[in-house]
């Protein structure tokens, strides 16, 4: 059957189960849109390509399926870059499709030309420039396979205009075979045994689990490890929800804004069982003072994560789910009474608290949590809003937090929430935002309203780039250089209304509950402008470069 490149693209995507594409058209992809819009795939038009990439990312994180975004060549492709880098850092399966100028023009500085594969090489798991329509089907299938297997990540396929329009009569079925790509999924038996032995003989173990547990769908195995092994658990930002936040063995998040209990636990432990986490600097603080007494077991599918920042004693490379299953079989019951008593003492001594005298962001998050269900999805922006959401929302299921953990992309949360809502119709989706971050992709209100995606945005509005202001307050003598947004912030209620969304403003503590409930009941998208205490800080906090038990603030 003769098929044009754009039709091959359509057929491969449908065959792979793709039901939604977030795409912004332009000269080099008009033929692609022309075919896709007639297909069974739902086309979602964002208002900026960055929005498209974050929507695909949010869709993927919330559903576990591959997220697909599409842009034109040149500026369309470069506008995807932040979204692709965000997905790469957090191991999100994404297919980024970009138009490209016709093959004879490549390299000639043609209109809207950019070296897209060159630009995205360091921020993709892999990328392709398709120069011949005969390679298109195979390339797309490889791209999808690579993006979704092993440690997932974004794969970009650059499609020159003449490849989309020329025809091919080959078969698109057939297995994918990539000789240089064989992700190691099965853990080494001897390493699994060594890990289990270390756990069984440990007196003060702690599990430190990250987003990899959620990606591997290993949350049940994690719960079993914690329960059967009788081990406390701390989670990274991206790991939240891997163990329900109300589990008795859950210590809270660890690291720079982690709980005192989690950080003390790490520092006093004799064994850390790291699973699907990568010892990021926001977790470890000062490396040479990190967990000085601990032996480290590290379970991860990516060998490059092992011993990258912290020397690991027992590495187990492979899929967390199957490895944990094997480890769990070898566990022996151990009481560890003293260890849990010590943890209870820390919990009692250092609870997460804040002063309730004014409208506090932590209280807003607690109220959002109160009005949520287990399957409610919370996207965050980046900065204080992100940390308050992580600290005060109780994540009870995997895939309910969408947050840019690695790259720390402001403007991520709102489009990610919209993407998640497309993937999870009927579920409640919030974006916990700041006034700075929200303005980075505020134009996507048009997308939420246009497709009637009932995302709720809670702007924790302090009129500051709050996290930077916090650092300026604590470490730069309160010189608030370029962080005060108040004077020129728009009226967010009017902005919401101008786009056709419902807008609300909350200035008092006692209005919060009603406003949240009204938002949840409202059918369409809602924006609530919470005028929070302007100089509230995120505590506890480990100053950059300090050991993680050297926390400041909130240490009542």
């Amino acid at each position: 059957m003769q098929r044009k490149g754009a039709e091959i693209l359509r057929d491969v995507l449908i065959d792979a189960g793709v039901d939604t594409i977030f795409g912004y058209p332009g000269g080099a992809v008009i033929p692609v849109f022309d075919v896709l819009v007639e297909s069974s795939i739902r086309m979602v038009l964002p208002r900026h390509e960055q929005g498209a990439a974050h929507m695909a990312d949010g869709y993927a994180r919330a559903t576990g399926k591959i997220g697909v975004c599409l842009s034109t060549s040149g500026p369309g492709a470069t506008n995807l870059v932040t979204g692709i880098a965000t997905a790469a850092f957090d191991s999100v399966p994404m297919l980024a499709l970009t138009g490209q100028v016709k093959t004879p023009l490549i390299g000639n500085d043609a209109f809207q030309e950019a070296d897209t594969t060159g630009i995205t090489r360091p921020i993709t798991k892999h990328n392709y420039l398709v120069k011949d329509v005969r390679d298109l089907a195979r390339t797309l299938k490889e791209a999808i396979h690579i993006a979704t297997s092993g440690r997932p990540g974004p794969v970009l396929v650059d499609l020159p205009l003449d490849v989309s329009t020329s025809s091919w009569d080959g078969e698109i079925s057939g297995e994918v075979s990539i000789p240089g790509y064989r992700p190691n999924t099965v853990g080494h038996v001897r390493q699994i045994k060594a890990a289990a032995d270390a756990i069984n003989s440990s007196e003060r173990p702690v599990i430190y689990a990250g987003g990899g547990v959620i990606i591997a769908d290993a949350h049940q195995e994690l719960a079993e490890l914690a329960e059967k092994g009788n081990i406390p658990v701390t989670l990274t930002l991206l790991g939240l929800g891997a163990l329900p936040g109300d589990s008795p063995r859950f210590l809270g998040m660890l690291g720079m804004h982690g709980t005192a209990t989690a950080n003390y636990c790490i520092q006093e432990s004799d064994l850390i069982i790291a699973i699907g986490a990568r010892f990021d600097d926001r977790i470890t603080g000062r490396i040479d003072a990190f967990a000085p007494h601990a032996k480290i077991v590290h379970i991860d599918i990516d060998p490059t994560s092992i011993s990258k920042n912290i020397r690991v004693h027992i590495p187990v490379v492979g899929d967390a789910k199957s490895i944990l299953r094997e480890v769990n079989k070898l566990l022996k019951p151990v009481e560890r009474k003293g260890w849990f008593e010590r943890i209870s003492m820390w919990r009692a001594k250092h609870p997460m608290t804040f002063k309730e005298n004014t409208l506090k962001p932590q209280y807003v998050v607690q109220e959002i949590c109160r009005a949520s269900r287990e399957d409610t999805i919370i996207a965050t922006e980046v900065g204080q809003n992100q940390m308050w959401a992580a600290q005060y929302y109780c994540f009870r299921r995997p895939r309910t937090i969408l947050s840019s953990g690695g790259l720390g992309t402001m403007g991520y949360g709102f489009p990610a929430a919209i993407g998640a809502q497309f993937g999870c119709p009927g579920r409640l989706v919030w974006d916990i935002a700041g006034d700075g971050s929200f303005q980075m992709n505020i134009q996507e209100l048009a997308t939420a309203v246009g497709y009637n995606q009932p995302v709720k945005v809670a702007i924790l509005n302090n009129g500051f780039l709050g996290m930077v202001r916090q650092w300026q307050e604590l470490f730069f003598n309160k010189r608030y250089a370029c962080t005060d947004l108040m004077a020129n912030n728009p009226d967010f209620v009017k902005v919401a209304e101008a786009y056709g969304a419902h807008g609300m403003r909350v200035t008092e503590r006692d209005q919060v509950r009603d406003a949240v409930e009204e938002a949840v009941k409202t059918e369409g998208p809602v924006v609530i402008d919470f005028r929070i205490d302007r100089e509230e800080n995120v505590f506890p906090m480990v100053p950059a470069g300090e050991a993680i038990d050297r926390m400041i603030g909130g240490m009542a």
């Binding site: 360091p122 892999h126 420039l129 000789p179 240089g180 790509y181 990516d302 060998p303 490059t304 011993s307």
Partner: protein, 165 residues
């Protein structure tokens, strides 16, 4: 930092952009590649990239893992001291050779088993292959005559015996 020299051999798919991916791993970490040689292998679909770089053990370990993670990379091998392998550079060198000096220069080239590959009225071109130390020694001996131009290839290396990368 322990500035040890590392000789790394990488088998890659013979495709556009692969060298940029491999080189990118080094440049993004601020490491220099001292020497680089790329060529087809016995299988025309595969190329062998041979690199010399410097860095401490942890850095090289990370680079090896990152190289392995590249989709277009099939195998990574580091040649280590004590391992039985052959390594070679290639040198082409054009040296001033006035009629009175020509005999001397040809003798020196001969001692190194170099070949004269071009003869002019006032110059000679010598081709020499061998390990780095031998190449350096010959260059030193040629300097007094006046080296007009020279080029060295990147290092290549292959294991002896039946072992293959």
């Amino acid at each position: 930092m322990d500035d040890k020299r590392h000789l790394i051999s990488v088998i890659v798919q013979n495709k556009a952009g692969v060298l940029a991916r491999v080189a990118g791993l080094f440049s993004s970490r601020g490491f220099n590649i001292d020497s680089l040689a790329v060529g087809e292998t016995e299988d025309p679909e595969l190329s062998r990239v041979t690199m010399v770089t410097r860095g401490d053990e942890a850095v090289i370990e990370q680079i090896r893992k990152q190289l392995n993670r590249l989709i277009d990379v099939l195998r990574v091998h580091e040649f280590r001291s004590g391992e039985d392998y052959v390594e070679r550079d290639l040198l082409l060198l054009r040296v001033n050779a006035p009629p009175g000096k020509r005999g001397e220069i040809m003798q020196v080239a001969d001692i190194f088993r170099g070949k004269i590959v071009d003869v002019g009225v006032r110059h000679l071109m010598i081709e020499l292959s061998g390990p780095e130390s031998k190449i350096n020694a010959m260059i030193d001996l040629m300097r007094p005559y006046g080296i007009k131009e020279m080029v060295r290839s990147g290092r290549i290396a292959l294991a002896r015996g039946n072992k293959s990368v």
